[in-house]
Symmetry: C2
Subunit: 195 residues, 2 copies
């Protein structure tokens, strides 16, 4: 929560996410991080006590960023539909600009060996849910969204569709325009969940 992060740590986080995009999980090694930072492997340990800590810091940094972005959108006074669309638009913009993070978040189970890392990834999912469930519930009570299922279940379908689209993008090595396809998915979802 209280992310007391030094400049150097932030640089390492950025180097790590770059490596993650370009070389995948197996390329995210201390050796490669050091090379990217242009210093020795042992220097990495001056700033983080373990590789696990680096990954967790990276994911927490992302979660914090995302929460700020989404909270801002969700507390506005627009119609719920517009808020929902704006949230996913914001996610599209972010991941288009930072495709490195997309790999981490949408390639599920990537760091399965560590419980702590898995929890960090789940926290990112939770940030989405925490912000959007109230929006959906509000939309339902206003008659903007269909009322045939619980907000959580509506969100499950919306998130699942969005995640699958992001996944298709990451495995294609980001070689199509995620804005176009992403927007189409969101439009299709809106068609389905409005009365």
């Amino acid at each position: 929560m209280i992310a007391e992060i030094t400049d150097r740590q932030l640089e390492i986080i950025e180097a790590s996410s770059k490596l993650l995009t370009e070389k995948g999980v197996s390329g995210l090694t201390i050796k490669n991080i050091a090379k990217e930072m242009e210093f020795s492997e042992s220097a990495v340990y001056r700033h983080f006590k373990s590789k696990e800590d680096i990954i967790i810091a990276m994911l927490s940094y992302l979660a914090e960023n995302m929460n700020l972005r989404l909270t801002k959108i969700c507390k506005s006074e627009e119609p719920s539909i517009q808020k929902l669309v704006a949230v996913f638009q914001s996610q599209l913009d972010f991941f288009e600009a930072n495709p490195n993070f997309a790999v981490a978040v949408f390639s599920d189970g990537l760091f399965e060996e560590s419980q702590k890392i898995n929890e960090a990834i789940q926290r990112i999912m939770a940030v989405n849910m925490k912000n959007l469930i109230p929006v959906v519930a509000e939309g339902q009570s206003r008659g903007e969204f269909i009322n045939t299922m619980a907000p959580e279940e509506l969100m499950h379908i919306v998130m699942g569709s969005f995640r699958l689209q992001m996944y298709k993008w990451t495995i294609s090595n980001m070689n199509f325009n995620i804005q176009i396809d992403g927007k189409r998915v969101i439009n299709n979802l809106i068609k389905l969940i409005t009365p």
Copy 2:
């Protein structure tokens, strides 16, 4: 395609998928496979020329199985809705009985280092699509499903929701009843995509 597989190779495939469930990708090593098979590491290489080949054989075996199951369901004369439900029910049954394979298929990007393995995983996705797109198209023309988007886009939403449910199950270490939650997702989807 023509999977000419020896008994011993099948045993190795089964041992590998067991390891995948219990220890994750990082636990799927030649050493562990050998231990599981109760013979030496080098004996593994009598049956497969590389670890990559084992993983590909494992995924191909799964794809073949799945295709047989789904094709049988989809060529029946029932209403399209019932076929769609039956397909996902069949998937639920299979992954409940073989949770090991669920990890492989729903933890995307797991074996990212190998292009061939990725292709094998995508072939499994394609088996689903190949069988279900015609069912959805047929259902749309019969007025069983809504007609406001292309069959592929409807399937995207259905698959995305299903995959997310399976993912939640795998990261919870299969500690809730996937039949109950899986069925609820399918029911919710049916509510959305029927007129």
